[in-house]
Symmetry: none
Subunit: 222 residues, 2 copies
DNA sequence: CGTTGCGTTGATCTCTATCAAAAAAGGTGG
DNA sequence: CCACCTTTTTTGATAGAGATCAACGCAACG
């Protein structure tokens, strides 16, 4: 695994230039942990933060009476404990691996030096955060607009292309998976698609949906 | 009210020197709004962000069919829309005052200049981003759990504190607002809470929910 | 062939939004 | 303090969307 190219694709650092990514990579190392292994503990000095490459880690706190509370579970691509680096000196919670995992470790000092030296970097990181937040807002919107017909219509239109004059959507996933992606179950998916077919809004041929009149279908997407 | 001294005590700026605070204050102005008044709207150019001085504001989105759902409620000391000013230039959601409120308005330009000059400031902003991101993840998890009883039970438990031996949840928002935050309408909220009361899982006194047996209530949160 | 998994169709049931209206809680002005 | 009005909260009845349960056709595959 190449740390450099991994970092270049994380949401935090994706807009870094090659040179900036090089500089950042210099402050990193790879950490492999086995299931159950401790990554850091509450109260210890926060000397680094991490980005999960593979596996899953759990952030938890111990209550006074010794019980543990899971705060978060982080998977591939997600930064871990970066808030501790940004605003305090100690880890506010503990972290262990839920499965065998590998992480990129980014040292606090190296990271802070970099930011102080190249203030544009922090703008890029913030922009990354900002985009990520917008994605989440969009996702929340999807979930709150809960009508199946809208969701399916929107999906078909957003994933359609024009091929020799016809608007078509190639279904790249099985219908079972699609149902799940759209937040429903296969039965409901099937019925909704059947409804569109019956209304002559779409026709289906060999896993390809043809949309004769996109504008008409669009009426259903809200 | 003195903007300068208020800013000096906010989370974002409390570690500023007097001189830095002066510079910042130069880019700000005070904005007073009455209950219900619009502060900014989705899609408009993000020319500034705000910090709540007093009152409460709500961040929300309108779905295509005109219904609104609340993303956040912000109170005194909290920054609002600071995420919007780094990338796409437009507000991703709208904001109105829930009560008469006063805000400090900080212009985008002035603030960006300041960040370039004082990189430590960006660390604080990034820390805020990181926390906000977690809130969204939690919110999405909330919404995908589609049963109202689970959502309310989870909310009550997550916002409860132990006071002289009793687990209680102080409702800090009106029930109408709470409904919106939980992704439902007041009627359903009221009924669900009534159900919990009838099952003796909770009692209510003056906007405070008492949870006699948190474990029992927890059974409903999944 | 039988088995297994996917996709479709049908019947039913649960949850919750909607519509309607009453009750409770806050103001506001006299 | 009271009458009046507005807003919030609660309760009731209804309807619609979608999940659930069940069954069947169909293709892939050993």
């Amino acid at each position: 695994m190449d740390i450099r190219s991994f970092l270049a694709h994380t949401f935090l650092f994706h807009s870094f230039t090659d040179k900036e990514t090089d500089l950042l990579t210099a402050s990193t190392s790879l950490k492999k942990v086995s299931k159950g292994e401790q990554i850091f503990s509450e109260g210890l000095e926060a000397t680094a933060f991490f980005i999960v490459v593979s596996g899953k880690v759990k952030i938890y706190k111990l209550s006074p009476d010794g019980k543990e509370y899971t705060l978060h579970i982080h998977g591939p691509g997600e930064p871990v404990a970066e808030a501790a680096i940004f605003d305090s000196m100690t880890y506010p919670a503990s972290c262990t691996a839920l499965e065998d995992a590998t992480l990129v470790r980014i040292s606090r000092e190296g990271f802070l030096d970099l930011i102080k030296k190249y203030p544009e970097l922090s703008l890029k990181i913030m922009s990354g955060y900002s985009k990520r937040l917008r994605q989440f807002v969009a996702k929340i919107e999807e979930l709150t607009v809960k009508d199946m017909k809208s969701r399916l219509a929107r999906y078909l239109l957003e994933n359609s292309v024009v091929e020799n004059g016809k608007t078509v959507c190639h279904l790249t996933h099985s219908k079972k998976e699609l149902s799940s992606l759209l937040g429903t179950i296969p039965e409901t998916f099937s019925r909704t698609l059947a409804f569109f077919k019956q209304q002559k809004l779409v026709t289906e041929n060999d896993n390809t949906i043809v949309i004769p009149d996109p504008k008409k279908l669009k009426l259903f997407s809200d």
